[in-house]
Symmetry: C2
Subunit: 374 residues, 2 copies
C-alpha cells in the first residue's frame, strides 16, 4: 500500500551530542543510536552528504581518543598464510582504491511492514550513497600470502568497548560474509573526502560493497578469513531472514547482498501539495550487487509504467543513480511508484518478503507515495 | 621552483562567522572573504566536502533571508526570443541535470609567483571538485524560443547588495563568457547533495563547467545573452591576463576556460616527514575543458616521469580525477612533481605564464613539492 511519508514519524527529538554536527532539518531522530534521513532531504546530487547520512549503532562508539591519533589504530589480519597486525599508517602505504556505494541498513523499509516487527521503523532514510577510500582487502591478503586453505568466510570484528557483565558473544559486533565478498572490499579510512567520523566507524571501517550496513564493520580491529561463520549472536541469531513469528537461527538466510531497490524522493508529501503542471518525478535507484540498467515510474499505482532518465555521473555498480521523469499532472490524487531493473535483469519486486525482523524490504508497492495535485 | 607548502601561510585566523560551519582544521583563513583548503586536507574521495571548500567572495553575501525561502528567488532571462523572469520553484519543474566539476579561483596558484602580484596568495586550495544540480541553461533557452539574433556572450549578474556611494559598474559582480559555454551550463540550486549554502551562492548559482570560479555567478538575478561583453569593471579591467606591470583592459584575455592542471596532495610537507619505504604519491588532476587522459609523476624534479594510476569513479570531463603512484623511497630529499595530459593531448606546462594579476597558474614546476624521507 502506498503510504504517506510522515505517518509513522515520532515526535521531534534533538540530535544526540555525539552527532550534533548532523543537519537537524534533514534527520529523523528515532533514538540516540538510530537517526534517519528525511525522504524530502535526499537531493539530486548522487552523494549523500555526511551531515545527513543515517546512523545505526549496535553499541555505543568507542572513546573519541581513537580518532585523535588515527594512524595508530591497529587491525589484525588472520586466516591468511602470514597473519599479522597493521597500523592504519602502514595500510596507507599498501594501496589505494575509492569506491562509491550504497550504505543501507538491512532494516530500511521496516516501517512499511504492517506486522510492525520490533526494531526501528525505518522508512527510506536508513540509506545513503557514500564514497569510501582505503586499501583493497585483496591487496592486503595477497601481501600476506593469500587466504589460508579452507576458508569460506570473511569475518570482521568491531572495536567497540563491550558492556561489562554480559557474555561477550551476546553483544560483540562481529559479522561473517562469504569470502568472495573480499574481491571488492576495502579497509577504509576516508569517507566522502574526509577522515571517517567516529560515529561512522573511523578511524578504520570494513567496507563490503553491495552488502547491507551491518556487514560494514566499524572500528574494525580484526579481519579474519574463517572456515565457519562467527557464533556471535549478531550473526547466529540476529539479522536472519526468518519466517514471521520465528526467532533467527543459523539455518536461515543472513542479511548479506542487497536486492535492487528504488524510491521516489520528490515530489514528497512532507514537502506539501503539488501544483498542477509538469512535475519532475525524481528518486534514487540501485541494483544491489549489480549496476542499474533502467528505472520505470508509474503515476497510477503500477498499472502503467514509463522509463525514467538517469541523471548525472555514474559512480559505479555499487552506487545509486538519480533518475527523473517529467510528467504532466492534472489536479487529483496519484499513487506514484518506481521500480529498478539491474544489469542482471532482476526487477525490484512488487511485494515485500514477509519476515520476523522486517529485513530487506525492497517492495516497490510499499515505497509508493500518494500525492495530491491541486 | 619547488616550494614548501607552509612557507607563505599567514598566522592562524578564526573562521568568519558566516562560514563558522567550515572545518577549521582544513582551512587557511586569508581574510573574511578568502578561505583556502589546506593541501594536506584534500582527501582521496574525489568530491570536496562542502565544509572544506574554499571561499572567495567579491562582495559580501546578501542577507540570509534569501535562503529562507529559496523557491521564491527570481532570475530574469534576457537576450532570448521570449524573455521572462522565473522563480526557482518554476525552474525546478523545467529540467534537471547533475554535473561534477572543478570549481577553481582563477588566482589559484598565485602564491607561487615570485613577482608577488596583489591579491590572495593562494597555493593549491582555492579549488575543489563539486557536484551541482539544476536546470540546463540550454533547456531554459529552448523553452524561451532560443537565443536572440546576434548574441555572442552569456552574461550573468550577481544579486549582491552594492555598496552605497560607488558607481555600480565599479563593484557589481557581472561576467560575460562566450555564448557557446551555455551548452553545459546550469542554473543550479543544489551542491553536493544539499541546497547551495548562502556562502557558495545559494539559492541559485550559474555554473559554467570548465570556466574559472568568477564566471560562476552567485545569487544570479539576471542571465542575459548579449552582443558584447559587459562593461562592468570586473569584466572590462579585472580578471584580465595582462603583461607584468600593465593594468587589465578589454584587449587582453579574460579568465575563462581553465587549463590542464594537477598537483600532489600526499605526501605533503605539512603532514611531517616521510618514512623510507613505499610511499603512495597521491593527488588530483583535471583537464580544463577536456577529460583527463593521463597523469605522470616525477620524484626527481622532472628529469624522469612515470605514469600514475587513476583511482575511483570517473565523474565526467569537468571533474578531477584522483591519481596514485606507489614509489619506493630511500632516505634523502626529493622534488616530487606531477603533470596531467588531457584528452586533446595538451600537457600541463612546466612554467607559469607571467602576468600582472597572477592568474591561471598551472605550472607543474611551481606546484612541485620538496619532501624529506628519513
Amino acid at each position: 500500500m502506498a503510504q504517506a511519508v510522515t505517518s509513522t514519524v515520532a515526535p521531534v527529538k534533538p540530535l544526540p551530542a555525539y552527532v550534533n554536527w548532523k543537519n537537524p532539518d534533514a534527520m529523523i531522530v528515532h533514538s540516540s543510536s538510530t537517526l534517519e534521513t528525511k525522504r524530502g532531504a535526499f537531493g539530486s546530487s548522487i552523494v549523500t552528504p555526511t551531515n545527513q547520512l543515517y546512523i545505526r549503532n549496535n553499541l555505543p562508539a568507542p572513546d573519541a581518543s581513537i580518532v585523535a591519533d588515527r594512524d595508530s589504530w591497529e587491525v589484525a589480519i588472520e586466516g591468511v598464510k602470514n597473519p599479522r597486525t597493521f597500523k592504519v599508517k602502514e595500510l596507507k602505504s599498501m594501496g589505494l582504491e575509492t569506491t562509491a556505494m550504497v550504505l543501507q541498513c538491512s532494516g530500511n523499509g521496516r516501517g512499511y511492514f504492517p506486522s510492525k516487527p520490533s526494531g526501528t521503523p525505518w522508512q527510506v532514510g536508513a540509506a545513503g550513497c557514500v564514497i569510501w577510500s582505503g586499501v583493497p582487502v585483496r591487496a592486503l591478503t595477497e601481501a600476506l600470502g593469500g587466504m589460508a586453505d579452507g576458508m569460506q568466510y570473511m569475518t570482521g570484528t568491531g572495536g567497540e568497548k563491550l558492556p561489562e557483565g554480559l557474555d561477550p558473544k551476546s553483544v560483540i559486533v562481529e559479522r561473517s560474509v562469504p569470502a568472495k565478498a573480499m574481491a571488492d572490499a576495502l579497509l577504509a579510512w576516508e569517507m566522502n573526502g574526509e577522515p571517517i567520523p567516529l560515529a561512522h566507524g573511523g578511524p578504520l571501517r570494513l567496507i563490503v560493497p553491495g552488502y547491507s550496513g551491518v556487514n560494514n564493520i566499524k572500528y574494525i580491529k580484526r579481519l579474519a578469513f574463517t572456515e565457519a561463520q562467527t557464533d556471535a549472536a549478531i550473526q547466529a541469531h540476529g539479522y536472519r531472514v526468518s519466517p514471521p513469528g520465528q526467532k533467527g537461527d543459523p539455518s536461515q538466510p543472513s542479511v548479506w547482498e542487497m536486492g535492487p531497490k528504488s524510491w521516489i524522493n520528490s515530489p514528497a508529501p512532507e514537502n506539501g501539495s503539488v501544483q498542477a503542471g509538469i512535475a519532475q518525478i525524481k528518486g534514487v535507484a540501485f541494483g544491489g550487487v549489480h549496476a542499474v540498467k533502467s528505472v520505470e515510474v508509474s503515476v497510477d499505482g503500477g498499472k502503467s509504467w514509463k522509463t525514467a532518465r538517469l541523471v548525472g555521473p555514474d559512480l559505479g555498480r555499487y552506487a545509486w543513480r538519480q533518475f527523473v521523469l517529467p510528467v504532466k499532472l492534472e489536479p487529483g490524487t496519484y499513487t506514484i511508484a518506481c521500480a529498478v531493473t539491474n544489469a542482471e535483469g532482476s526487477r525490484q519486486p512488487e511485494n515485500r518478503m514477509e519476515n520476523a525482523g522486517g529485513y530487506n524490504n525492497n517492495s516497490w508497492r510499499d515505497h509508493a507515495l500518494t500525492i495530491t495535485v491541486v
